[in-house]
Symmetry: C2
Subunit: 444 residues, 2 copies
């Protein structure tokens, strides 16, 4: 199968079937959708042997590529399923089942006149296309999120994961159908590079493309489709250490933001330090980062505050760099305004944090920085759907558009997420003896 080519007409037929299925799925009740997710989890359980065998074949083929240096070690690790990862995938499906149904909710209701009632109702988007690389868990996660939200989904995985994807889809689609009350075409897969071209051209049939993978993949997709794309090409996140920062907290927050998982988009890439504390703070920061295996780069001003160390100089055109590795860049800035200017000029509008004990500086930073996440006194790594309490995450969006129907003033604003912390780091919420999130609603 993995050597076959899928003709454009096959892809069109698959998308058309998905569109038809989406109309049925869009009006399925919450209990029907939940029941389908229960069946899906059971099907994964009962097809475990075939799925793991298909994955083992993918892994064998990938080993050859990895040995030739044609596949990165990280990609190889993500591809490989084991019993624990497989069990977590099934648990993930059941966790999505437990979330509240986001569709069919009344968002607003207004009496326009006697007997004339306006309601604003949430409803599914229609058909999603997910273009991802090698992660098998993306398949079950996205499929279950799609079913729960009432959207049909077309999956296109990288060549490396094709056998695994087909085995997973066979189990998932088998759990749907007439008995489940949801057409099996609500979840389909396509393969081959040509299929991506066809999908990206299907404006009107596909409502949203979600790329999950490298910056290059996301950028390619953003540039080659008129369909809305949910995601972000890069995450160049900043932390500004203000003159009024608790410096020990700043070191701890920065180390967590860089070291806890350097390959992800919400890891920090650039540290901006207020000039008033640079000579005191930077040697401490440099020591802590070096101890954690982080290579520090920086501006001439940063170098000047580090008399006992030699760092790589960052060139003017290098500040917009997502290292995705144990490397970061440091600059010294005159004040809060200069920090905000730097972020506006070089950032990616993903997530930025300030460390300060000055509430006015924090207020200004949270208000004035134009990013999807603006944090005070905590790690940038909190920018994550699970940590925000969403129960699951489709991706992180740095776009702002969101309006439908007549658009008034409300359509001219977007939203951002602010966090007020007291030095928390993600590390404490991971692994054995981790703190658990409380996720309690507050009055506002």
């Amino acid at each position: 199968m993995s050597t076959e080519v899928l003709a454009a007409s096959d892809v069109l037929a698959i998308v058309e079937a998905a569109r038809k299925a989406s109309r049925k799925l869009a009006v399925a009740s919450s209990s029907t959708k939940n029941h389908a997710l229960t069946r899906m989890a059971a099907a994964l359980e009962s097809h475990a042997a075939e799925i793991l065998a298909a994955n083992a074949e993918d892994v064998k083929a990938a080993e050859v590529l990895a040995a030739r240096g044609e596949l990165s070690g990280a990609l190889f690790q993500r591809l490989k399923l084991n019993d624990d990862k497989f069990r977590a995938m099934i648990q993930g499906v059941l966790a999505v089942r437990e979330l509240p149904d986001p569709a069919g909710r009344v968002l607003d209701r207004k009496l326009l006149d006697d007997g004339l009632i306006l309601q604003k109702i949430s409803c599914p988007l229609g058909v999603l296309a997910i273009i991802f690389e090698a992660r098998p868990d993306a398949i079950t996660q996205i499929s279950s999120l799609a079913i729960k939200s009432g959207n049909a989904v077309i999956l296109k995985g990288g060549k490396e994961v094709e056998r695994t994807m087909m085995a997973l889809l066979s189990a998932i689609r088998g759990a749907l159908g007439e008995v489940a009350g949801i057409p099996e075409d609500a979840v389909s897969g396509v393969y081959g590079r040509e299929a991506v071209q066809t999908i990206l051209g299907m404006t009107g049939s596909i409502d949203l493309v979600i790329p999950r993978g490298s910056n290059a993949l996301v950028q390619y997709i953003q540039k080659n489709t008129q369909i809305p794309v949910l995601g972000h090409a890069d995450g160049v996140c900043h932390i500004f250490v203000d003159a009024a920062a608790d410096q020990a907290m700043a070191v701890s927050v920065i180390v967590d933001s860089k070291v806890q998982y350097p390959a992800v988009c919400n890891a920090v890439e650039t540290i901006l330090v207020h000039s008033a504390i640079a000579t005191e703070f930077l040697p401490e920061l440099h020591r802590a980062l070096t101890e954690n295996g982080v290579r520090v780069r920086g501006s001439a001003r940063a170098q000047a505050s580090l008399p006992e160390a030699v760092i790589d100089l960052v060139k003017d055109d290098e500040w917009h760099t997502e290292y995705s590795d144990l490397v970061l860049a440091v600059d010294v800035v005159a004040d809060l305004d200069a920090a905000i200017d730097h972020i506006e000029k070089h950032g990616s509008h993903h997530t930025e944090a300030i460390v300060t004990a000055d509430p006015e500086a924090a207020r200004r930073f949270l208000n004035e920085v134009d990013s999807a996440g603006v944090f005070h006194n905590c790690s940038t790594r909190f920018a994550d759907g699970f940590r925000y309490g969403f129960g699951a995450e489709v991706g992180v969006s740095t776009s702002k558009l969101h309006a439908r129907g007549p658009v008034g003033l409300e359509g001219l604003v977007t939203y951002k997420y602010q966090i007020e912390g007291s030095g928390q780091v993600v590390r404490d919420y991971v692994g054995r003896d981790a703190r658990t999130f409380r996720h309690e609603p507050l009055d506002f």
Copy 2:
């Protein structure tokens, strides 16, 4: 001025200045923004003579074009200001001032852990670019909406309206500046066809493009920019007359939806009639439409139900047509499912209505039709921000994307507006002795 060409570097400088201004405007308080709107209304008042003189020059030039048949009568009418229209523009600015501030609202607030609080906050988009044709009132309306919502705005009007636009902008910008606490660069204008090219290429500097004009203009912009576009290329709205319809109500709703203002996007273009009532209903409908000057076209099945009239046949590839005139198309469909299929195949996802006394048919139509507006027993012309009670309208969006930051289940749904009516028509809400909307919030 109108013969000068604005160099691309000038446009870049204007957008850059707007971006800078947008950061100040984004954090301006509600009272600062309201005060600026008061000043703006006063400035329009005190510059009335210059503005009306500039408009008279535009009108004089347009008369030459209109005489040569190079400018439509409708465009000419829209261009021309008089005292009443000018007064309504000023009233419009003051009405926007009275709306609640949409920015800086807490949309969600959650305790993630002790001392770790997540807030979802509404905030402005940044810089808007409005590309419109000849309507002077669009300039004051969009400028006041932009200031109220905290967004900077770049206006690009058609050549015909350039003198009027520059006179209006001179008054508006004079009302801003240091005294107002909002930089005058928050509202700027550019001119010339080349400026549009430059603007459409400024991804990252401009956050949203709003085209206001012909379908051709909107389509051109959608195809030639990576910046999100708010709007809709066409409005091919449908009304389905169910077997269980109150037929007198259906005639009244259809006549209103077509005749009340045929040139607008929410006017109906296609009527779908349930086959069980076609021979009884269609002659009545045909009579009423003909009396109102509407030319009826239709399918062979529609013709068969109209033995005493001859109608133009609609070809298979003509069903997606926005007539924007006193013309409409009629088809006869087997049932509700066939009506929904027709709308899915030929519609534009703008606004569709069902006329029926059967609550189950209405429920299915409202749930299953994938359009921004789905109405029961009322005119499609209610699809309008003012009628929805928004106080003002930027445009009507048929797009669905809307997510920012980590996207969970909520990011996979959009919303639609439903109206439950009892035969209301827009006509009754227009002109002397018009009914007024009540716009009362209801519990839900």
